[in-house]
Symmetry: C2
Subunit: 192 residues, 2 copies
């Protein structure tokens, strides 16, 4: 339709993300990205001002998708039900085209430090955890909420099941993530 100028920008994002996931952010050079794309470094600089800008664009895309999920969550009335469906929708993102970005974030936290506070994604993350935590002050609940997301990310990583092949990794990941946010035989506020 309208904007069919060039998909080079998106191809750069895709190739860069592939390499970031494979080898990590710091170990991936712009030369490598350019080589795999069949262009030169200078070409990359036409589309992105810096290496960090490539990452920013990746995070922005995820932030946009999370916004939709959070918008839905905000207008729910039943908190418990919303929490569960929220996990399901995040699972869909991880299983879908955002799995690699989230794996990249998880595995390259020192690199992410630069973007924390500068990129809108991290406010979204905070809101996500706030909703999952359901206003609980109980620290164990907080920790379980964070772990639920880790479960989705780890459980959907192909590398994770390298030894023990599994037919539906996404299903396993979701199962464990849901356990973590929905108390079963656990009382919310009970400590020790």
């Amino acid at each position: 339709m309208a904007g069919r100028r060039s998909d080079t920008r998106e191809r750069i994002q895709q190739v860069a993300l592939d390499l970031f996931v494979e080898q990590g952010y710091e170990k991936t050079s712009l030369r490598e990205i350019a080589e795999r794309l069949g262009v030169t470094k200078a070409a990359l600089y036409y589309h992105f001002r810096t290496k960090e800008d490539i990452v920013s664009s990746l995070l922005d895309d995820l932030a946009e998708s999370m916004d939709e999920v959070l918008a839905w969550a905000r207008e729910q009335e039943d908190p418990a039900g919303a929490r569960e469906e929220l996990i399901r929708r995040m699972a869909a993102l991880v299983e879908g085209r955002f799995g690699p970005v989230m794996r990249f974030m998880q595995d390259n936290q020192p690199a992410m430090k630069e973007f924390r506070g500068r990129n809108p994604l991290f406010e979204r993350m905070q809101e996500l955890f706030k909703i999952i935590g359901a206003g609980e002050r109980d620290p164990a609940t907080q920790l379980r909420g964070r772990l639920a997301l880790v479960a989705l990310i780890m459980g959907n990583a192909p590398h994770f099941w390298a030894d023990t092949p599994v037919s539906e990794p996404g299903k396993v990941a979701l199962e464990v993530a849901l356990e973590l946010v929905s108390p079963r035989g656990r009382t919310a506020g009970e400590a020790t």
Copy 2:
């Protein structure tokens, strides 16, 4: 007693680890390590052949401590009880002087890739997960086992509780980790 030559080697390890945790492995240069120590880069090279060797030495120390834990675990007869105590002993390591190393590993997985297969620590890790998994083929159990360790690492990271101050983070981490390895209202083999 016997070997009181110089503690420089250990001071290098300590300072390097501090910086690796603070800023990540790749972002930390040997110049920085030397500066904080008040020596020059060349001095570092007397004690360690390469930057990677510094990391190796850190991993070796952890591997040694894990060996003791695993040796104990191997000679237990009750698998369920051993599993729980195994988590408690790992929790002690994370709360003790090995917390930083484990946080470093968790946060710098691309850097760890180089050591996987070359450093004995990773065989120990595999054995740990095998015991925690208790021979279960159920993938969800495998995932929960891995998450239990993540719970200990995340829950003991000072940074993690920055927003919500908690009096005893280690206790919370242990609580959640134990839930993950000891089924409560969950049947081991039940799928879906």
